[in-house]
């Protein structure tokens, strides 16, 4: 096939060739999903400001303990695995939602909730241990930035857990009607986004990546 043939050959895909002006409004599923995707990206932009603050302040320990002394990598690996497996079980939950299978949805949501709660419990016990060791958020600029960044992520996980409870109640009472399914889609996207932010947290904060 010559280059000219290649360039003029029809493109084989399922894209709609109708002009945009004649396609009518996008279906509400697409609008809702895209809108929530934009929200998630803006949330990640907010996290990037906290990451920037942490990166600038990480060396300013004011004579207090630094990350090497405070963080236990084995502990963080367990937290990371909890969140990673919860992201996978959340994916299983969205497959169950697509099949409109309520028992499977409850099961996978419960597993996701348990893993998320385990992550949160580990994080809170780490925070309380640090505060008991006089390494609380008021100790140094480094610790202020640490508690703000990791605490904001933990707050998001908490909200996600509450959202899971709320959505399971809605599945139980309202069933898989379109608005419930859209909310479930947004919840699963939210949960996956939390895991993406956590990749940045464990790499930059706990593994101490510097440039």
């Amino acid at each position: 096939m010559s280059l000219a043939d290649h360039l003029t050959a029809p493109v084989e895909d399922d894209e709609d060739r109708t002009p945009y002006s004649e396609r009518g409004p996008a279906p509400i599923d697409v609008v809702a999903g895209f809108g929530f995707w934009l929200f998630l990206l803006s949330d990640i932009v907010m996290f990037s400001a906290l990451f920037a603050a942490y990166a600038v302040l990480a060396d300013h320990t004011a004579g207090g303990p630094d990350g090497v002394k405070l963080f236990n990598r084995g502990y963080v690996l367990i937290e990371t695995m909890c969140l990673l497996f919860s992201s996978f079980t959340c994916g299983m939950c969205s497959l169950a939602i697509e099949r409109r299978s309520a028992p499977a949805t409850y099961l996978w949501a419960a597993v996701t909730f348990a893993l998320g709660a385990a992550f949160l419990g580990l994080e809170l016990s780490e925070f309380s241990r640090m505060i008991a060791e006089d390494a609380g958020p008021t100790r140094s600029a480094f610790l202020s930035a640490f508690f703000t960044l990791v605490g904001t992520h933990g707050l998001h996980v908490t909200l996600g857990l509450l959202w899971f409870v709320s959505m399971m109640a809605q599945v139980a009472t309202l069933g898989f009607r379109p608005i419930v399914v859209r909310r479930l889609l947004c919840l699963t996207l939210f949960w996956h986004a939390l895991d993406i932010v956590w990749i940045g947290v464990f790499t930059i904060v706990y593994l101490g990546a510097r440039w």
Binding site: D14, M81, L189
Partner: protein
């Protein structure tokens, strides 16, 4: 004509996953996570190269999550989602690297604290 719905437009995370893709994503993510934790504590890699390796592994894992969990691709129906993602990455890059660059520059140009004390007397 499809009536009021458009053909070929996609929503993030919807209708393109299967058990296989989620399992593949989980597998890749576990390997990359373990590699990160290994790289942070190893002496097998030249010290100054470790942060670059960690950054590469983290970006790789974020890519795995976007592709296997969010199901975002650069394909035709995903143009809106993909462009939004690219813009998000752009802003994140500006905020993070811009802040670090500016603060490092200020830090380097600041009068040392002991000299500043003498000047104030």
């Amino acid at each position: 004509m499809n009536g009021p719905t458009r053909k070929g437009e996609r929503t993030p995370g919807k209708g393109h996953g299967s058990v296989t893709t989620y399992l593949a994503g989980l597998g890749f993510a576990i390997v990359l996570t373990l590699a990160s934790f290994w790289a942070a504590g190893t002496s097998a890699v030249w010290g100054p190269a470790v942060p670059i390796l960690l950054a590469a592994l983290a970006i790789g894992q974020m890519g795995v999550h976007v592709v296997f969990f969010f199901h975002i691709s650069s394909g035709p129906g995903d143009a809106n989602n993909f462009l939004a993602l690219v813009f998000g990455i752009f802003v994140v890059g500006l905020v993070v690297f811009g802040s670090i660059l500016i603060m490092a520059n200020l830090d380097a140009n600041m009068v040392p604290m002991d000299k500043l004390m003498k000047m104030q007397r």
